[in-house]
Symmetry: C2
Subunit: 481 residues, 2 copies
């Protein structure tokens, strides 16, 4: 955790070569096995491992067993389904690299529900290749990116009989439902999961046309407001104009959460915000970002937000308070002459270092209670614990290794970007193992993950396999082993 | 319509007696026929004449035919079902009273749907007597109040062979769906409907413990706001804090429709509002109204509204702008990390003289477009034409006759109250026939009309029949015939 620091991509690394560091036999082996590995990926994608659906419990377990089989066939040790209250964590180790660093390879084998199914052009659990893309639920999030790591480890062991680093896998089945059991499984097996860094196959690059990784993710806090003004809905003919209206009261309350300029008006909200350094802001500013193209893509007329910051700065380095839903009164067709007695709103905040979910919840709850309009009763409920922000030091050897592997694969200087979303597993790994997470995914943020017609770009499979092969060879150098 | 004028109940009328003016033979006849008339009412109530339900078309027509049969049996002339694009208007005349005024007796034979049916303690179309109340859908709104008028006319013709006034009936079958065809039927039969005043059996007294009638009703305008900020919902991780949020924008817009004090902030909104006179306000202030009991009844902590007015003044004499519904984004269980791209709100205004729905719609639309938050697109849709406010002059002879009949029946000074709701038929009769409407209903506003377990107080049947008998005798005196 801690503060924003360092410039993005501006630091000299130990390794400046753009030659792939993996043994050429490994790279050749990976290419030779591409078709067979692709078939294995398709077998995994065909399993509808929807963790949110209790009816799919046996499918989720089938996906876990398939991965365990692959890890065993690759020659890893201690292959196990580590049981929990939910779905198991698939794990295996290989600890024969002596003083070389140990990396924990993270991925997840569960997927989002395929709904709405009728919006899919081809069946969600039948992987289909069109225009050099594979379409299927979960192929981008996270089955293909995760399979890349497995295939590369298998190739090293097949060709070299050894890996350049020590490895432990933690492939969970509950990422799409909040990684509920992961912390308990890590805590129950402290020796197994001892490592120097987490390399996450989950995550996504910023854009398809340039390699990137992430140095930060915002935290999350979710809450709900219930406001009432009377014990029943009232006829607007008899009562209208003389008693508080719950929707109007909630609209006032919600409108007052931001000031006119676009900043969050909750007292103390920005107290624990650590501003990004001038260097980081300059590097972010240097990234190619076409605001007009962005607005056109989302169909918006203008950007909006906290004054004094650009769009990427607002998305990556500044905290937010968003209204995700609001409702009250009559929602049907035509008019209904009612004075509604209750109204509701859902809110989430994205947090940045060093904002803590507990503290921010207290501040917002206090604001809502203090500012509730005359005659209204307000109750605030918190959804879950949320998560703090995550930030990786610019000099972290894992980050340097990731950048080196991307440079060797793509021949260009990779971008290091912030992430507006939240990755609670980073905090889980920090708390359980005391180590940082680097992101090394070959998915792209535009691949309709969580939506119909999710896809993965086939060419990224080859890129990813070469890059992972390089990364495993590069990590010992960056860690100074 | 005109301006607020005169004091309520403070004017001396020509007729100060509290003796019932009807011939004693008529009153005795009504009492003798009470049981049989009640059976006839029950037959009418058993017909499920739900105008909103296309499946109930033949039932609605059956109710119309039953009424026509009763009017014919009573000895009225020109009995007819006047056809329209919707349900027929049941009409009949009796024009043998020479120079005496002509009254148009208004009522409606259609009823609200009985839903939710499982909340009824006894079947909605099987009239059931419990605790001196009749429970059934439509019994209070408007079958019992309307039957009272028919029974009294029948009794006069049976006993006296004549009525003290000329009479024309207009009993419609579309009141519960907006009186859509009434204006066209009135226009198609100008000679038939020529009259001096409408006496409406529809409406309801303010309270069960004191007789009252109404001198005014507020008008109505309904509209809907659609606001959008982007072409699709956006992930709050990637985009949060950097683009407009449709719910937040709509909350700001909706919150700005009122000023901090509770007044409507739309420029020009109050321009055509005619303030009630000091005398009217004083009379209203003199009405017994226990604000704490009212708040306790509706479960509200406080009243709220336009500064400078009391609760009854706000409900009866001041215009309103209410938010009836609002929604956007995710409304399901738990959190969803989305920046919603669209949000919606439903609004209605209650209008007072001389506010016109067209003009007020223009003002609100202009306000919404001018105040829309940066980056939001706003579309405003109007629901239907709405209705202007209705106001009856305090010296209207019809109102004086109604007050006299109530005084003669109850032996106390009746209240003349405002009505917060809207009665579009008043405007229809004004426009089509150039005459005012007085309200003479023996329902009470608390009889769960439009809700499960609608009921009518049995004792009000006797009160109403004696009062209508008096009213018919009193009208020629007040109209100076």
């Amino acid at each position: 955790m801690g503060h924003w620091s360092g410039a993005v991509g501006g630091r000299r690394t130990l390794i400046v070569t753009t030659t792939n560091l993996a043994p050429s036999r490994v790279l050749a082996d990976l290419d030779a096995h591409l078709e067979g590995d692709l078939e294995a990926l398709f077998d995994l994608v065909r399993i509808p491992s929807v963790s949110a659906d209790p009816q799919r419990g046996s499918d989720v377990r089938a996906a876990a067993r398939l991965l365990a089989t692959r890890l065993g066939a690759a020659g890893l040790d201690e292959v196990a389904l580590l049981e929990s209250d939910g779905h198991p964590v698939v794990s295996a180790t290989w600890r024969h690299a002596g003083d070389a660093p140990t990396i924990l390879i993270y991925g997840h084998y569960d997927v989002q529900p395929p709904d709405p199914v009728d919006r899919w052009e081809t069946p969600p659990f039948e992987p289909t290749v069109r225009d050099d893309r594979v379409y299927a639920r979960g192929v981008s999030d996270d089955k293909a990116p995760m399979s890349i790591a497995l295939d590369v480890v298998a190739s090293y062991l097949r060709v070299e009989g050894a890996l350049p680093v020590n490895v432990v896998f933690a492939l969970e089945g509950e990422e799409e439902i909040g990684s509920t059991s992961l912390a308990a499984v890590l805590a129950a097996h402290p020796d197994r999961f001892r490592a120097d860094v987490v390399v996450s196959a989950d995550g996504a690059m910023w854009r398809a046309d340039h390699p990137s990784t992430m140095h930060s993710a915002r935290g999350l806090l979710a809450l709900e407001i219930d406001l009432s003004t009377a014990s029943k809905d009232l006829h607007s003919g008899r009562h209208g104009g003389s008693v508080p209206n719950a929707i109007h009261a909630l609209a006032r309350l919600v409108a007052g959460l931001h000031d006119d300029g676009g900043g969050v008006a909750v007292a103390g909200f920005y107290d624990d915000v650590v501003a990004p350094t001038t260097a980081l802001l300059a590097a972010t500013h240097a990234l190619p970002f076409d605001e007009r193209a962005y607005l056109s893509e989302i169909g918006a007329a203008t950007t909006w937000g906290e004054p004094g910051y650009g769009t990427l700065e607002r998305q990556w380095y500044r905290p937010t308070l968003e209204i995700n839903g609001m409702w009250g009164g009559y929602l049907g067709t035509g008019p209904k002459t009612v004075v509604p007695c209750e109204a509701h709103a859902k809110l989430t905040c994205r947090l940045v270092a060093d904002q803590r979910p507990d503290r921010v919840f207290e501040l917002i709850e206090r604001h809502l209670l203090e500012h509730r309009p005359h005659g209204s009763r307000v109750h605030v409920t918190r959804h879950g614990e949320g998560a703090g922000a995550y930030h990786l030091h610019a000099a972290h050897p894992g980050l340097r290794a990731v950048l080196g592997a991307l440079r060797a694969t793509y021949g260009v200087e990779p971008w290091v970007v912030g992430m507006g979303g939240s990755v609670p597993i980073c905090e889980t790994f920090q708390r359980a193992l005391g180590i940082d997470t680097v992101f090394f995914s070959f998915a792209v943020g535009d691949e309709d993950i969580h939506a119909p017609n999710e896809f993965f770009r086939l060419e990224r499979l080859t890129h990813g396999r070469h890059a992972w092969a390089d990364l495993l060879a590069r990590l010992p150098l960056e860690f100074g082993a």
